[in-house]
């Protein structure tokens, strides 16, 4: 073996344990799930039988599936949209030289580092029927008739879930975009000012275009995160009330672990994966084309 080859061999050897772990716990399960999705594998059919594309046909012709699909997209769109708009606003604020800003920059990331389950408990504690903070505040300002268990109301449970998503991830946008803002050359703004551009024009013609790359990254990452996220909904409403917060991810979990219909659950998960794969490939292409 030449020295070069020996070095490459050593390289593979060093990455091998990580790769094996991945193969065993990520790729093999994905392939397995793909095959399971063509079977009637369930708790009652422990020896799965091949049923072709039945699972997919049942799913795709079921109006419930399309309702879940639509709701998932609405959740992703609303959460990511709000996160981005608020994230940019907060990033611009962080970029100001105000007193105490160092502390603000530190504190805003805290929602992101804590477990999702604790966020759910905190929110539930705030929206309890009679003694939750929100309802107590409403009563105190004379809006007692509006009080309710906000997670238990079909009209408000979904917005509340969007709120939790925004609360957790918006700071991440702010910090990332803030770093992006700092890397915009000051000269751009000086030149624009000399040309007589006002604050809005500077924002739309310099700031936003210069933030294009970090924006795309945070948005794509959070589209994936929000689309795949299951614990916010499962832990807070369990998909209720009356299915008003059920999304694809929670449906997969319930189909597998409450109804034990693994084949059907796999088919639903594979559909999710296919959608996100298309999305991810677009993302890789984006990263690559930017590096080239």
């Amino acid at each position: 073996m030449t020295r070069e080859k020996k070095r490459a061999f050593m390289g593979y050897l060093v990455v091998l344990p990580a790769l094996l772990l991945f193969a065993l716990l990520m790729f093999y399960p994905s392939v397995q799930a793909f095959f399971d999705s063509f079977t009637n594998y369930s708790l009652y059919n422990q020896v799965p039988g091949f049923i072709g594309t039945d699972n997919y046909e049942v799913l795709l012709t079921d109006p419930d599936f399309w309702e879940l699909f639509g709701r998932t997209l609405v959740l992703v769109g609303l959460a990511v949209g709000l996160q981005y708009v608020l994230g940019v606003t907060l990033a611009l604020l962080l970029n100001e030289n105000l007193k105490g800003m160092r502390w603000v920059r530190y504190i805003i990331m805290i929602p992101w580092v804590i477990p999702v389950v604790s966020t759910v408990v905190m929110y539930d504690w705030m929206v309890l029927p009679d003694y939750g903070l929100i309802n107590m505040l409403l009563k105190n300002i004379g809006l007692g008739h509006l009080t309710r268990y906000w997670f238990g109301d079909p009209a408000f449970a979904f917005p509340l879930i969007v709120t939790m998503h925004v609360w957790r991830n918006m700071p991440f946008y702010a910090i990332t975009l803030f770093a992006g803002l700092k890397s915009i050359p000051k000269g751009f703004y000086e030149a624009a000012e000399i040309d007589g551009a006002n604050a809005w024009q500077r924002f739309f013609h310099i700031t936003l275009p210069q933030l294009k790359y970090p924006s795309m990254i945070v948005i794509v990452l959070h589209v994936l995160w929000t689309f795949n996220n299951f614990d916010f909904i499962y832990l807070s409403t369990g998909g209720g009330p009356v299915g008003s917060t059920e999304v694809l991810a929670t449906k997969v979990y319930e189909t597998a672990w409450s109804y034990f219909e693994y084949g059907k659950a796999s088919a639903l998960g594979i559909l999710m994966m296919a959608l996100m794969l298309v999305f991810s490939l677009a993302y890789v292409k984006l990263v690559r084309s930017d590096q080239a």
Partner: protein, 278 residues
């Protein structure tokens, strides 16, 4: 005058953001010190009993939440071990991917990162069968290996970025001076990439500490159940004891916040580095 108005507006917005972000924390922290009678008296600040650590004592002793200590111990063991292994494996993996001339190197990195985008609710279904056949269901090891896989791609990618920023000439100079590749790693590269390792460790810990999905399927008994599982159990029971649950939630949050407090400078830098420079 206009400048001044602007400043007022900025502070106003900043305060709105701060309230939005901090309110849930402040409210639960305050509530965790209030006696149960006061939690359900419908008052904000008027308390019949003085604020105390009673709820915290309750978490560990009362019937419903008595297992909290065990959950905490399980979480601590699982998160610490998986974090240590992620950092170790990420360091070597990143070194190899950055320094050795390998085919398919980009492919390896990209597939690893992409795998984090698979729906976890899907992966966990066959994963149960795989872990079952390896006798790893309801074991620390079963949860630990899963958490390693969750934390590793980001770790490798992040640390590789630090390796890539060290010119290869430094390695070469050291090797001419007689150091072998791994000698270079220990003496030169680790000190320079320390910030990256800190962030990778923090991320791995955070992921493991917060994971509900995988633990909910792999854990079957008190022997392995982690904090998120336990907290959800208290929270889902019919007679919710809010005093104890608020205290339990605060205790669950604290380790991540304390770690973040120590490491925040590096964490923020590490997280944003990739998305800015690309």
């Amino acid at each position: 005058m206009k400048k001044k108005n602007n400043l007022v507006l900025k502070y106003f917005l900043l305060i709105l953001f701060a309230v939005f972000i901090l309110l849930p924390f402040i409210w639960i922290l305050y509530s965790s010190f209030r006696a149960e009678v006061d939690l359900f008296a419908g008052t904000f600040f008027k308390n019949e009993k003085p604020l105390s650590f009673e709820n915290y004592r309750d978490v560990f002793s009362s019937g419903q939440t008595a297992a909290f200590g065990t959950y905490f111990k399980n979480s601590l063991i699982i998160a610490s071990i998986s974090t240590a292994i992620v950092v170790f494996a990420a360091l070597f993996g990143a070194y190899a991917l950055s320094r050795f001339r390998m085919k398919y190197k980009d492919g390896i990195i990209i597939t690893m990162l992409l795998s984090n985008m698979f729906p976890q609710v899907l992966i966990v279904i066959p994963l149960f069968g795989i872990l079952f056949s390896m006798n790893l269901i309801d074991s620390y090891l079963g949860i630990i290996v899963t958490h390693i896989v969750l934390g590793l791609p980001f770790g490798i990618w992040l640390i590789k970025g630090y390796f890539d920023s060290i010119p290869y000439e430094i390695d070469e100079a050291a090797m001419i001076d007689g150091l072998r590749p791994f000698g270079v790693l220990w003496r030169i590269i680790i000190p320079i990439t320390a910030p990256g390792m800190v962030v990778a460790a923090f991320y791995a810990f955070m992921v493991s500490w917060g994971d509900f999905l995988f633990a909910s399927v792999i854990s079957q008994s008190l022997d392995t159940q982690t904090l998120p599982i336990g907290l959800n159990k208290f929270f889902g029971s019919t007679q919710i004891r809010w005093g104890a649950i608020n205290a339990a939630t605060v205790i669950t949050i604290i380790p991540t916040i304390v770690l973040y407090a120590f490491l925040q400078r590096w964490v923020v830098e590490g997280l944003t580095a990739g998305s800015v420079k690309g």
